[in-house]
């Protein structure tokens, strides 16, 4: 059994992203949004809901299911576009590899969101949102890096991810 906590669907791109809860083991508790279980999914509207097809390694667990339309949050059907950040705008840090970010127009704001990090920034315009996002990522990296031994499992995973993508300038 797989449970979808929420799903975001863009009718423009016909793509969806869902946070998925998977049972850790047979009969076990559900685990909620650990980093490695956040998978982008492809989706298309079907009668009665959103059909989700997982990409990658989870295909054997969830190949095709239809979820009720109320999983798609009101207000999420906003114009959005994806881009790859190539820098963090910080003299001390550079990105080893581009960081995927989704820009969403969200009411009066623009939100820059990283699904991999579950991190976001926002502002009145795109540049402001990206600047805010970059600042958040740098602050998160510094916050996690200062005392790595004092991190719970979730933030340990986030730090490992950040250490893969961020390099410190000499």
């Amino acid at each position: 059994m797989v449970r979808v906590e929420h799903a975001l669907y863009s009718p423009n791109t016909r793509m969806a992203i869902a946070d998925i809860e998977l049972p850790i083991e047979e009969g076990g508790e559900f685990i909620s949004f650990p980093l490695e279980y956040q998978y982008p999914v492809q989706g298309r509207w079907e009668e009665g809901g959103l059909g989700l097809i997982l990409q990658g390694g989870l295909r054997h667990i969830l190949t095709h299911q239809v979820f009720s339309p109320d999983l798609v949050l009101a207000g999420t059907q906003q114009p959005s576009r994806s881009l790859f950040l190539r820098d963090l705008g910080h003299p001390k840090y550079r990105l080893r590899s581009p960081l995927p970010v989704v820009l969403e127009v969200d009411g009066p704001h623009v939100v820059a969101y990283s699904h991999d990090l579950d991190m976001f920034g926002w502002g009145d315009v795109e540049d402001e949102a990206l600047l805010d996002f970059k600042g958040s990522v740098c602050e998160l990296y510094e916050g996690l890096h200062e005392e790595p031994a004092k991190l719970g499992p979730h933030l340990e995973r986030v730090l490992r991810y950040l250490e893969r993508v961020i390099a410190e300038e000499p």
Binding site: E5, H6, D19, I24, E29, F30, I31, S32, F33, L73, G75, T76, E104, D106, G107, P108, H109, V111, Y113, D118, M119, F120, G121, W122, D132, G135, S136, E139, L140, E142, G143, L144, E147, K150, L151, G152, P153, H154, L155, V158
Partner: protein
């Protein structure tokens, strides 16, 4: 969903969220000396609108009713710890 910044700040206060001295964008939830989760703090003093409350909620690993309880007050620190334990974000015996 729309929230007042003051309500979110009060909720973070209930959870004893830690703010780094050198930064103001993030808050960390700390349990027994370990940083368990991080979430974004809000700008300004007005309202948080659109999907931003939803994104804060998912960073806190809460469902909608739990988040509502957190903002409206019934959910306290111990209740939040119990939810994180149920979801295996915090294990029963750790952190030491």
């Amino acid at each position: 969903m729309s929230l007042k910044v003051a309500d979110v700040d009060r909720a973070f206060g209930k959870l004893q969220m830690e703010i780094r001295e050198s930064g103001d964008k993030l808050a960390f939830f700390v349990y027994k000396g370990k940083r368990i989760l991080s979430t974004r703090r809000s700008h300004g003093k007005g309202k948080i609108e659109g999907n931003i409350p939803h994104k804060i909620r998912t960073q806190l690993k809460l469902n909608e009713s739990e988040f509502r309880e957190l903002v409206q007050c019934p959910l306290d620190y111990d209740g939040y710890v119990a939810i994180l334990k149920k979801r295996k974000i915090i294990s029963g015996e750790d952190p030491a």
